[in-house]
């Protein structure tokens, strides 16, 4: 490799244009983070419903779509806001280009949000029988209560591609060698499980111990594997010269190094041990604390991973 290195080439750029800097910034980090929560609560919620009786998690039916709805809307809002021409978003629907994961993702996420909204409306009015007694919407929702259970499997099925399509966008971003398909896909899955379990932990105060134990288990697995994935990429980046040069922004200290290790320790390692401990003895406060730490860690880790490849000079 030495013959390609700067010491061998002695090539110094003496006149050029400045580097463009970070183009996809915090709004895209927030967008990915919010999407992980919005889809993750559905995936983890389905897992809990498979393992436990509904009665053990009385508020799940309406609060799960509520969390999903809120974070999907944050995700959609920041997707729109990050566009230089937000109103032209409509072009994705009028002139779709199907080779683009952005197009496919936008269509799927819109459908997903619409279905989650329907689940929320039905779930809410079912859980609050005295609210809006004379409202037409409430009446229609209550009359079609079973529709919730009918669309739920489809929503769960859709949650996977919706959470994963950003990994495909990153794979299509051929300029950024750090973002590789299989690794990013796995990262997104772990992120969804982490964010989903953390989101549901917040509303699990009144649930059975066993269901909370399952949430702690999912959180522990997701934080552990997220950590291992990042470590793998951190230490084995030498497989590509560009990825190695990108990770130099983390390896060599500085603000991204601090952000990265903050995310790893505070966001993944500590919540992992807290979650494992919680599987043995149920402590709601501690579990919520672990969930909050994990969500902060996830945001920071995603932020570093999004930004560092953009600092590399491409030409």
């Amino acid at each position: 490799m030495v013959e390609h290195g700067i010491h061998a080439t002695q090539a110094v750029v003496t006149l050029d244009v400045p580097l463009p800097g970070i183009i996809w910034g915090w709004m895209i980090t927030l967008n990915m983070w919010a999407k992980s929560i919005g889809t993750g609560v559905i995936i983890v919620g389905a897992f809990l419903l498979y393992r436990h009786k509904k009665e053990e998690m009385p508020n799940l039916r309406w609060q799960m779509p509520l969390i999903s709805f809120i974070f999907l809307n944050i995700f959609l809002l920041f997707t729109l806001t990050d566009l230089h021409h937000p109103y032209r978003m409509v072009n994705i629907f009028l002139h779709p280009h199907w080779t683009s994961a952005i197009t496919v993702g936008a269509w799927m996420a819109s459908l997903f949000t619409a279905l989650v909204t329907v689940m929320l409306v039905i779930g809410y009015f079912d859980a609050h029988p005295y609210t809006g007694k004379n409202w037409k919407l409430a009446k229609v929702a209550r009359e079609n209560s079973s529709f919730y259970e009918k669309i739920f499997p489809f929503v769960v099925f859709l949650a996977f591609p919706v959470t994963l399509y950003t990994a495909i966008i990153m794979a299509e971003a051929a300029a950024r060698e750090l973002w590789q398909t299989p690794a990013e896909v796995m990262q997104m899955i772990w992120a969804a499980l982490l964010a989903g379990s953390a989101g549901l932990i917040m509303i699990s105060g009144s649930w059975s111990k066993e269901s909370r134990k399952d949430l702690a288990l999912v959180l522990a697995i997701a934080t552990l594997f997220s950590f291992l994935m990042y470590m793998g990429e951190y230490f084995f980046s030498f497989k590509s010269a560009e990825a190695e040069a990108t990770l130099a922004y983390v390896h060599s200290g500085g603000e991204y190094n601090a952000e990265f290790w903050f995310a790893m320790v505070l966001g993944f390692i500590i919540p992992f041990f807290l979650a494992v401990r919680n599987m043995k003895e149920d402590n709601r406060t501690l579990l919520r604390f672990a969930a909050i730490l994990a969500l902060i860690g996830l945001y920071l880790a995603k932020d570093v991973w999004l930004k560092i490849p953009q600092m590399l000079n491409l030409s």
Partner: protein
């Protein structure tokens, strides 16, 4: 027909004529470039030399920018040019993430993605791209690489073994070739950037031109805002103080 470009780096003398011609022809805004000539100093004194590398879009045959564009604002023309339709662009910057050559910029005036189009508008009416016409040493060669008899095809054949593209490992199949290039000139990872290589580190724009870092609210209000009327008075009244320290 497949249009291609070749730059003979042995001929280029770094006059930046092509850069200026491109700016003028395409009205490329301040702080943005469709084509730029990079100066690279190689070696140590007394064995030092300076090389000049013009860099523009490669009009890749398998273009990641075209693939990722959600609305086909980036699209192929029949002659192989990768063109941009700025009226359709939503400004998602996906293409900027995808192009491995950093060839795309966000136009601060239109807030849409833009790049070299091989002067598609000139080519359409039978003219050569502006950068080709201006080059005093004819280092830029442009033509149909599907035609064995074209100047560019003959040039490529004559220099077999010495014709290179940037980052071939990316499988983008660039249609922009270099003769006389090497790792030092074509591989950005083999080059060091030291403080002061750029004269344009902090370009500020006049208010009416727009700003790539405009606020989020501006993006939503933009279609409803009326353009400020400009006359000579506007420039006389221009408040220099507000922009001091910008350059």
């Amino acid at each position: 027909m497949k249009l291609g470009f070749l730059v003979d780096l042995n001929l280029c003398m770094g006059c930046k004529g092509c850069e200026v011609a491109c700016k003028v022809e395409n009205e490329v805004p301040l702080g943005s470039w469709r084509l730029r000539v990079k100066y690279i100093d190689i070696g140590t004194f007394p064995e030092a030399s300076r090389s000049f590398t013009p860099l523009r879009c490669n009009h890749c045959e398998s273009a990641p920018c075209e693939r990722i564009c959600p609305v086909s604002a980036l699209h192929y023309l029949e002659n192989g040019i990768v063109n941009v339709d700025s009226s359709r662009c939503i400004g998602c910057a996906g293409c900027m993430m995808a192009c491995p050559y950093g060839a795309i910029y966000m136009d601060p005036e239109t807030n849409t993605a833009d790049k070299c189009t091989y002067c598609a508008h000139r080519v359409e009416s039978g003219m050569m791209p502006a950068c080709v016409v201006i080059c005093p040493v004819q280092a830029n060669i442009f033509g149909d690489i599907d035609d064995d008899e074209s100047h560019i095809s003959r040039y490529i054949m004559e220099h077999q073994g010495a014709v290179q593209v940037r980052k071939p490992e990316k499988n983008t199949i660039p249609k922009h070739f270099y003769v006389g290039g090497g790792n030092q000139t074509l591989n950005p990872l083999a080059q060091q950037r030291i403080e002061g290589y750029s004269l344009f580190n902090n370009v500020t724009h006049l208010k009416h031109i727009g700003n790539p870092h405009e606020s989020v609210i501006d993006r939503f209000l933009e279609p409803f805002e009326t353009e400020e009327k400009l006359d000579n008075r506007s420039f006389v009244d221009f408040d220099n103080k507000a922009y001091e320290g910008g350059h």
